[in-house]
């Protein structure tokens, strides 16, 4: 296999295999080593070597899935030692994720080039990929397309961060692989793979954070039984509790949260059959910054003018109103049949039930009635998905697959106020992907067709009214890589994806308390269509690593909210009505990563993200696009310390520019100033004689006061201040 990445541990030399599949490291002392081999679309493998070798080593990689044009990156890249990332695909194992473990999914990703965070206070954050987020990104949770009320900017991903053992981001239109909506990209989170050796083992993790006095802990157990190691299971339960967060100047009142999770999975292998069952339950209560709940435009303007929240109370773990209560249940069943000739058939079925309850601030308006304990909105979204996939073996240099997927979704809305209606939708998708490689060339191409229907149900004077919308569209992708030599690689890719208008864009009709606007949907919206073109040049060497990506994402019928000239008059005041309108958008960007090994134990890395987003119909900047940024870090490996193993010190630096590109007269305030943050982490994998991973660190060392442009509550409050953390994880069993 040509172009597989080979990492030599512990010295961290790297190379890639040549066209015959061989690799070499020269002038090595005769010692014990480990090599880690990874290749795009295959599971990475780690092998122990005792030099000198007595025979030629043959290494086979297990195919994972198809990654047509994926630019896959991981958080490790910017946080740990330099990675040789020729294949654009790096696996973060639990060891590498350890430093970020226990933080939100967004926090794990935020230092990566091309990624920003959309925050709704300290308790809710979601990733933004190249300027796009929410319903423009698909999240795959252990192979299941995660379905919550994804459209909401303040609806975070319902995933236990402790259960993330591997994290990947696929940037750019990914409609082929992940179906409609993935026009901005996809996020794949995976749990630990099933244990393959007989026995039971586990890990207990405990994290503490000073800023909100958060305690988070998780117990993970896994086992493998029966004679031929053909029954495996895993179980994880996590709980976290956090109080109000703090800015450098004041407490962010009512930003406490808690979360409880259970994740289980089992695998049974029988001859050529593999059966997997997985179930997970997520439950969370999230406080929303009290002062971010304004009743009308005048209140909003008064709060902005004050420059700080009007309600600041003492620190507490109590969660008052406004509040979100969320539960998310997933179960999936998968059957894989491996034919003797290496063809493979897989069938999986999954079911998800997402319940979201939002509680607004109480006032005399509802304190007396029986509505007091009832949510303002109560939405239950049930999703069933079926996927059939057939993968064929390699024939004449071609390998590929085709498949069918079906999803059925039902939404049920109750509560005191109306925001989105009930609906039932069906989605049928068909796709085919083929890949080919020969010598220096590698190519992949694919096509997908989707058919959708969405029926809305509303109740008017006890009469049920329904109407149906139909959509169908195609997504396609073609990509080519050329390997100049073992160090240089050029990849180019063209892809398209589409997204039907989401339920809020079609039918929203209600008040948005946090921004004092009245939102009105538009059932005549057309689907968004994205055409993405990009080029990546990569260099991977022993001392120096570099990549550069330029992309051009053109989105037709881009949907956004625009204030209309009309107002909604209500008791709470006069609200500007926002309508959903469409335009043609162009998002162009550059992402670049660089890492440099100064000495064997000292390395430096930097990432740069640049985005230029325009409404090309009106020739004005697109609103709410993340500012350009630089992330960099330095890591020092302390190999000679006594009593600890694999000790390291990291210093990370982030500079975020001011967003100067925004349309005039739409936002309530100017964009916030640029800011810079420093983080420091010290960690190791042993403490005295006990084997355990631990780290201590400080985020925002200098307690800098700042507001991020993508923080939805920047009108009301600063972002969070200094945060000291301690993380411990203790493995046990065998």
């Amino acid at each position: 296999m040509f172009g597989a990445k080979v990492l030599l541990l512990p010295v961290k030399n790297a190379t890639i295999t040549n066209t015959n599949g061989y690799f070499e490291f020269k002038n090595l002392p005769l010692l014990n080593y480990e090599i880690e081999i990874s290749y795009l679309g295959y599971h990475p493998i780690t092998i122990k070597l005792n030099l000198p070798l007595k025979s030629i080593l043959k290494i086979a990689l297990a195919s994972e899935e198809y990654h047509l044009h994926d630019v896959i990156i991981n958080t490790e890249k910017n946080n740990k030692l330099s990675e040789y990332n020729l294949q654009n695909h790096v696996t973060i194992d639990s060891k590498k994720l350890e430093i970020l473990r226990g933080q939100t999914l967004g926090d794990m990703l935020k230092n990566t080039a091309g990624i920003a965070l959309l925050n709704s206070g300290p308790s809710i954050s979601k990733p933004v990929i190249r300027g796009l987020h929410s319903n423009r990104i698909v999240t795959l949770n252990n192979g299941v397309r995660q379905e919550g009320q994804n459209w909401g900017a303040d609806h975070g991903p319902e995933i236990d961060p402790f259960a993330i053992n591997k994290l990947e981001v696929i940037k750019g239109a990914s409609g082929l692989q992940y179906g409609p909506e993935a026009i901005g990209g996809a996020i794949k989170v995976s749990a630990k793979e099933f244990k393959t050796k007989n026995g039971i083992e586990g890990v207990y993790s405990l994290n503490g954070f000073s800023n909100n006095w958060q305690l988070a802990n998780s117990l993970f157990l896994e086992g493998n039984h029966l004679k031929k190691q053909n029954f495996s299971w895993r179980f994880q339960t996590s709980y976290r509790k956090a109080g109000d967060s703090k800015t450098p100047e004041y407490v962010l009142s009512n930003t406490a949260f808690n979360e409880f999770d259970i994740n289980t999975a089992a695998q049974y292998q029988l001859k050529q059959n593999t059966f997997e069952y997985m179930a997970s339950y997520f439950q969370s209560s999230l406080g929303i910054l009290r002062s971010a709940h304004v009743h009308n435009r005048t209140d909003l303007e008064n709060t902005i003018a004050k420059g700080k929240p009007s309600i600041i109370n003492d620190f507490t773990y109590e969660i008052g109103r406004p509040r979100q209560d969320i539960t998310h249940f997933i179960q999936s069943f998968k059957w894989i049949y491996s034919f003797k000739n290496a063809n493979k058939l897989s069938v999986d079925f999954s079911q998800q039930i997402n319940n979201r309850q939002e509680f607004d601030v109480l006032s005399f308006l509802n304190s007396n009635s029986d509505l007091k304990d009832n949510p303002t909105y109560d939405l239950t979204l049930t999703t069933n998905q079926l996927n059939l996939k057939f993968e064929h073996k390699k024939v004449n240099g071609f390998k590929g697959m085709f498949g069918f997927s079906y999803a059925n979704q039902g939404n049920y809305a109750t509560g005191k106020q109306f925001f989105i209606p009930n609906f039932i939708s069906n989605n049928y998708g068909f796709y085919v992907i083929e890949k080919w490689n020969k010598k220096h060339w590698q190519a992949e191409a694919g096509f997908r067709y989707d058919l959708m229907d969405l029926t809305r149900y509303i109740n008017r004077n006890n009469q049920v009214l329904s109407n149906v919308l139909n959509y169908n569209n195609t997504a396609a992708s073609v990509g080519v890589s050329y390997f100049f030599n073992t160090n240089w690689k050029l990849t180019t890719n063209l892809s398209s994806a589409w997204r039907p208008p989401s339920i809020n864009e079609l039918y929203a009709n209600g008040l948005h308390a946090a921004v004092a606007t009245f939102e009105q949907g538009n059932a005549n919206l057309k689907p968004e269509q994205s055409y993405n073109a990009e080029v990546t040049l990569k260099y991977a060497g022993t001392k120096f690593d570099f990549d550069f990506t330029a992309y051009n994402n053109s989105i037709n019928n881009f949907i956004y909210r625009l204030p209309s000239n009309s107002f909604n008059t209500s008791f709470r005041g006069v609200f500007p009505i926002f309508n959903y309108v469409q335009t043609n958008a162009l998002l162009q960007g550059i992402e670049s990563n660089l890492s440099f090994k100064l000495r064997t134990n000292l390395s430096l890395n930097a990432a740069y993200t640049f985005l230029y987003a325009n409404d090309i119909s009106e020739n004005v900047p697109l609103i709410f696009m993340p500012a350009n940024r630089i992330n960099s870090g330095i890591e020092w490996q302390l190999s000679k310390l006594k009593k600890v193993k694999n000790a390291f010190v990291q210093l990370n630096y982030q500079y975020v520019f001011k967003q100067n590109r925004m349309p005039i007269g739409i936002d309530f305030t100017d964009s916030p100033a640029s800011y810079q943050l420093f983080d420091l982490v010290f960690g190791a994998s042993q403490f005295t004689k006990t084997k355990m991973n631990w780290s201590v660190g400080i985020q925002n060392i200098f307690n800098t006061s700042y507001r991020d442009y993508m923080s939805r509550y920047r009108y009301y409050a600063l972002d969070t201040g200094r945060n000291i953390f301690i993380k411990i994880s203790i493995p046990f069993g065998k």
């Binding site: 308006l365 609906f423 109740n459 209500s570």
Partner: protein
């Protein structure tokens, strides 16, 4: 044989686990807009110096029966005679309830955390003024505003009729100390047209 047994067990288990109980049916939506909690702000008043004279008694309403969106609210014009001292009361009603619920009673109960503000438009300043009559149990006592006087200046210095407006804000002090200025949380914020005749 053993193979078949295992497969059967797996299949049955799967069917059992996935045969979910029927939840709320999206095809049977409930009406969510009917649960508005106030529909009507009613201003009533009379001439203090001539309390039985029906000519000076009034009742004006600001009413939105179908909640946010939907039909526009019905808003009366407050028509007052000049040079009169009126005593006024504000009543807040929920007409979707049967019998009609007097929401302003709730404000009376929570008067320590609420306050009405009456602000005439600039062209009415000096010609239309208000004076709150009721106070809460805070120490010192602070105005509530469920009952107030309106003084209209006699028309010696300006021409009639004079058209303006009156802004009524009900401030809610939740988690903050009540003061004599507005809070950042307005439970009610409405405007009445005003005509001095």
């Amino acid at each position: 044989m053993k193979t078949i047994n295992n497969l059967t067990i797996i299949t049955i288990t799967t069917i059992l686990v996935f045969s979910s109980c029927k939840k709320d049916d999206p095809k049977k939506p409930v009406e969510t807009n009917s649960q508005e909690v106030l529909t009507t702000v009613l201003l009533t008043g009379y001439n203090i110096d001539d309390s039985l004279n029906a000519k000076y008694q009034f009742s004006y309403k600001w009413e939105d029966l179908d909640g946010d969106g939907g039909n526009s609210p019905i808003i009366d014009t407050i028509a007052l005679d000049s040079g009169i001292r009126y005593n006024c009361k504000v009543l807040i009603l929920d007409k979707t309830k049967s019998p009609i619920e007097t929401v302003s009673d709730e404000i009376e109960k929570e008067k320590n955390a609420h306050q009405f503000f009456y602000t005439p438009s600039t062209n009415l300043v000096g010609k239309f003024s208000t004076e709150v009559l009721d106070f809460d149990d805070n120490n010192p006592k602070l105005p509530v505003g469920l009952e107030f006087n309106v003084l209209t200046k006699s028309n010696q210095t300006y021409n009639l009729p004079l058209i303006g407006s009156l802004n009524i804000v009900l401030s809610h002090y939740d988690g903050v100390q009540k003061t004599t200025s507005k809070s950042d949380e307005s439970d009610i914020d409405i405007n009445f047209p005003v005509k001095l005749k």
